[in-house]
């Protein structure tokens, strides 16, 4: 499972890193530090990844079965 965070959609609500503190982190402005990135989620953090995607009110976090081409 990959997680992708859309830089343009992220508005810094801070809900994702609140529910997924191991996977995601906040930057100085309150946006998720990993925005604009796409990476493979370690198995033990799949739950956090799902929680983060569910929590984002902007729909900025996407979970992908496959690594994007």
């Amino acid at each position: 499972m990959h997680i992708a965070i859309d830089e343009a959609k992220c508005m810094g609500h801070g809900r994702c890193y609140g529910v997924a503190p191991t996977l995601l982190h906040d930057d100085e402005e309150g946006f998720v530090a990993e925005r604009g990135q796409c990476w493979k989620v370690p198995d033990e953090l799949l739950g956090e990844a799902q929680d983060a995607a569910d929590a984002c009110p902007e729909g900025a976090i996407e979970l992908l079965e496959q690594a994007p081409a």
Partner: protein
């Protein structure tokens, strides 16, 4: 006979449409009994996906479902804050920053402000916020009977607001009176009636800003120092913009937090099982904060002005139309939150509510507000775990932007 006539008129009235939307006349600005506004808003949401409300000069198109409201906040290129409130489109005469900016201008100012309101900055305030909260509670505890709204819920955020500006919290004693006077006049659509209070407030901010020009602090930690030293496109921020930012934070941060605290404590006073759950297990508090913000949204709407004609899921909008982003209706939309009327302290997904808006104008103070609500719930219940609303009390709420007019609480001393 008259009865039949009235019926005929109301049936006709119900069929009235404006650009395909059923027309409603619901007035959300009047004072009602507590929860009276949700009793108007929730049924309106179920009448039709989009409504046109004709109670203001310009009228407004209402987006009410969770998905629509959320998408509406994201239409920030074509729908701007040139109208900030669908209920008071003319209120934009009173300038607010960063609210009134849009596009890149807005992003540039938010970039400067965000860092003082981000979770990292709010964590730096936590100790001070906790100490101040404890002081206020300890001061009130021996009284055993207070108006929670007037004696606690407005004082606490006012003190923290002053601290955020690097001002002495003791100034709250006189500052509060001015801010209340000005806010109430503004909300009633009569800012001219409070010009004196506004002048006192602006002079006070002006002095504070000048003081910081002379005695700068660390611009990474002190917001006013940052504002006086920052450059946007190589230009310093004008003095009147800095004082307008201070004024905006005051208007946006004090009444809202007071209101949230009022609804939370009205609920907890009347729901002993929830109150005891929180007292026994404070780890419930963060999710409870989200659930309270969801169930009792106090900013019931945000306004937007359409800049380019376009279609929104079948709704045809023209330039100059006013759009209502129905925050309260979205938070209480059963399509998104099952049994939306029920407070469930451990509701999954409670934090997806739109109480703080969304898109680029999402509430600047959300993390501070969350901290304030969390600290109060924790510290209050450590000290005053049992309290009630005196028998026979009638609770009322102001319209427009909701807040309880008073909340008497009593406890054993």
């Amino acid at each position: 006979m008259t009865e039949t006539q009235t019926e005929a008129t109301s049936a006709e009235g119900a069929e009235l449409t404006h650009r395909g939307c059923p027309v409603v006349h619901t007035d959300y600005t009047q004072e009602t009994e507590i929860f009276g506004h949700y009793a108007l808003l929730d049924p309106d949401r179920e009448k039709a996906r989009f409504l046109f409300n004709d109670t203001t000069d310009r009228g407004f198109f209402m987006l009410q479902r969770y998905d629509d409201v959320r998408e509406g906040f994201q239409q920030h290129v074509t729908w701007t804050t040139d109208v900030r409130s669908a209920l008071r489109p003319g209120s934009s005469n009173e300038r607010l920053l960063p609210q009134d900016l849009n596009g890149q201008e807005h992003v540039k100012l938010r970039r400067i402000l965000n860092q003082f309101f981000a979770p990292a900055a709010v964590r730096r305030m936590e100790q001070m916020a906790t100490e101040r909260c404890i002081e206020l509670i300890e001061e009130l505890k021996p009284e055993g009977s207070i108006d929670f709204v007037a004696e606690f819920a407005i004082r606490y955020p006012t003190d923290l607001f002053l601290a955020l500006l690097g001002l002495p919290v003791s100034d709250g004693d006189f500052f509060l009176e001015w801010s209340e006077d000005y806010f109430n006049a503004l909300l009633a659509g009569r800012p001219a009636e409070a010009t004196e209070s506004k002048k006192k407030i602006m002079d006070y901010f002006d002095q504070a800003v000048n003081d910081r020009r002379e005695n700068p602090l660390d611009p990474d930690l002190d917001m006013v120092t940052r504002l006086v030293t920052a450059r946007i496109d190589d230009q310093p921020i004008p003095q009147e913009d800095i004082t307008t930012i201070c004024l905006t934070l005051m208007l946006a941060g004090l009444d809202t937090t007071r209101s949230a605290l009022g609804y939370i404590f009205a609920h907890l006073a009347t729901h002993p099982e929830d109150r005891r759950a929180i007292t026994e297990d404070p780890s419930l508090v963060p999710n409870a904060v989200e659930e309270f913000l969801r169930t009792f949204p106090l900013v019931i709407q945000a306004g937007r002005e359409v800049q380019e004609p376009g279609e929104f899921h079948g709704l045809e909008l023209e330039k100059g139309d006013v759009v209502w982003l129905g925050v309260a209706q979205a938070n209480r939309d059963p399509r998104k939150f099952p049994e939306p009327d029920e407070v469930k302290l451990d509701r999954a997904g409670a934090n997806q509510h739109l109480a703080f808006g969304g898109g680029p104008h999402r509430c600047l103070g959300m993390h501070l507000a969350r901290l304030e609500l969390k600290v109060v719930m924790e510290e209050w219940h450590k000290r005053i775990p049992e309290y009630q609303i005196p028998d026979g009390t009638e609770l009322r709420e102001r319209g427009g932007q909701l807040t309880m007019t008073s909340l008497p609480l009593e406890w054993d001393v």
